[in-house]
């Protein structure tokens, strides 16, 4: 986030001004703000803690009564997931289509976002709106036609089917975010590069892309996120070979007669990739959520 940079820059100047501004802003309510934030974070973390708590218990302990923390910590549930191929292949399948989708979405969206940010052309506004509507289209509408389409072209039950299907909402989103970031780069840079004799592809790869690196990171984060959390399409388009972990979870509950501990452990493991990705982009998250256009 630019805020941390701004703080660093302001250290050379007298620091009193921004501090005073902050005090004016918060006044005597400092404690009120901390209370709101703490309560909110507590509210967010409790259900996750409960899941983690359950994943470390035996089924005996879970069903025999409510315990706020595991009396005897057991890692059996995790061991089972990591040693059983029908479980851990779900994670591999999910990550495969998420990565394919992220790469596809970004590489398709980059040139288009450049065009939208730099030029006006026939139907540009309509095209942009049409792209946006696809981000908003309910996946439920597309589940059945997608099933027919990908069965017909022989991609059913492959990671490619899910990756392509998720392009429906991720490509428009990536175009939207990247366009916001690219509009922040002055046009003069394009012109200077052209005068310096850079060909367009070389300019784009060597000069332009490094300039919007954070934008690409944010867009990739969002593609990862929306592909990772989506289940309806992923489940409809796969049966055995490419089944995502989230679908494996639902199937196994009913078969195993509510193995709560195992279910919780699988749930905790689906949170991990997201948490890792957030950690890497934490400084860009806020700007990214504003789609690069604050």
């Amino acid at each position: 986030m630019t805020g941390t940079m701004a703080v660093g820059a302001s250290e050379t100047k007298p620091i009193a001004a921004p501090m005073a501004a902050n005090r004016a802003l918060s006044g005597p309510r400092v404690s009120g703000r901390v209370v709101v934030m703490t309560l909110y974070l507590l509210f967010l973390m409790l259900p996750i803690y409960w899941l983690l708590n359950m994943s470390l218990k035996t089924n005996m302990e879970i069903t025999s009564g409510l315990t706020l923390w595991p009396r005897e910590i057991t890692f059996d549930n995790y061991v089972k997931i990591f040693t059983d191929a029908s479980w851990y292949s779900g994670y591999i399948n999910s990550l495969t289509y998420v990565v394919i989708n992220t790469v596809l979405s970004i590489s398709f969206a980059l040139p288009a976002a450049y065009a939208f940010s730099r030029y006006r052309f026939l139907g540009d506004k309509h095209l942009f709106f049409w792209l946006l509507t696809n981000r908003m289209a309910p996946p439920a509408v597309f589940a059945l036609p997608f099933f027919n389409l990908y069965s017909a072209i022989g991609l059913f039950d492959t990671p490619w089917a899910v990756a392509l299907a998720h392009c429906l909402f991720n490509v428009p989103l990536a175009v939207w975010i990247l366009e916001g970031f690219m509009s922040g780069v002055p046009r003069e840079i394009d012109e200077t590069a052209a005068i310096d004799g850079y060909s367009f592809p070389r300019f784009f790869l060597k000069i332009f892309m490094p300039l919007i690196a954070s934008g690409i990171g944010v867009a990739a984060f969002f593609c990862f996120m929306f592909s990772w959390v989506e289940l309806l399409l992923a489940r409809t388009l796969t049966s055995v070979n490419a089944k995502p972990i989230a679908a494996t979870m639902t199937r196994t509950i009913s078969a195993a007669g509510m193995d709560w501990g195992l279910l919780a452990a699988a749930g905790v493991l689906t949170i991990v990739p997201g948490a890792l990705v957030i950690w890497f982009v934490r400084n860009y998250i806020a700007k990214g959520f504003a789609l690069g256009r604050v």
């Binding site: 802003l25 409790l46 259900p47 359950m54 095209l127 981000r135 289209a137 490509v171 990739p273 806020a286």
Partner: protein
Amino acid sequence: MTKTVNNRAWLFVLPVFAIVAFSAVLPLMTVVNYSVQDTFGNNQFFWNGIGWFQELLDPSTELGGRFFDALWRTLLFSAIILMIEVPLGIAVALSMPREGWPVALCLVLMALPLLIPWNVVGTIWQVFARSDIGLLGWIVNHLGIDYNYTNDSLDAWVTLVVMDVWHWTSLVALLCYAGLKSIPDAYYQAARIDGASRWAIFRTIQLPKMRRVLLIAVLLRFMDSFMIYTEPFVITGGGPGNATTFLSIDLVKLALGQFDLGKAAAMSLVYNLIILAICWLFYTVMTNVDAERERVEA
């Protein structure tokens, strides 16, 4: 920044156009195709014209009644969600720490629910709200309130609303936070010199600066709550009865459960048109706000 007119820019847009058209237009054509036909099975279809649409939009028929019930439920759900999440999101954004490591910590923790697969969110709350093994359900029941989300439709609604607030308020908060970060310190200094109250600062500086991101937030939250499927499917399965059968759930029941392709396709199209209309409304408002801002800044 003025953009140059260049129709060759289409070449850059073509790949995106192709891939989205492949994913969006082709399937949509299939839907249109189904929506005007009827079948007796065995892949034998015959022309039904606008029959399904007439039935769908007439509340007195079985299909129409079901559609409008689900539509009102979904709209009510979206309205409740927006009324809670937008103010709460603003409050949380205003409560963000100013600088240092607490900012990063809060950001990471807040973003966490957003990256949990939706059915896992459903599972988390399904367990958390159970009265026997879930903390929330257990506490509420021990406070003497009879609470069971699988039997009581009000409890089911409360559970879903709380779940959605848990899941998505951070999105609104992060957007608002991004808007707040863009306000220069000079604005606050000026307000302080004028002796502006906390409320006046919020009304005249922070809220106008957040208008644009708030629009994005409302747009995203409306759309996503309007097409919510996975979480209620996992938690309540649309029940008890039909109490939480939202449009998406009803649609999937119709299409993949009963294989009533004609009815489901007609419903899909109407559903899509509603979304399209609302999306267009937001888009127009948003571009107007942009144009206004550019005029002000120019």
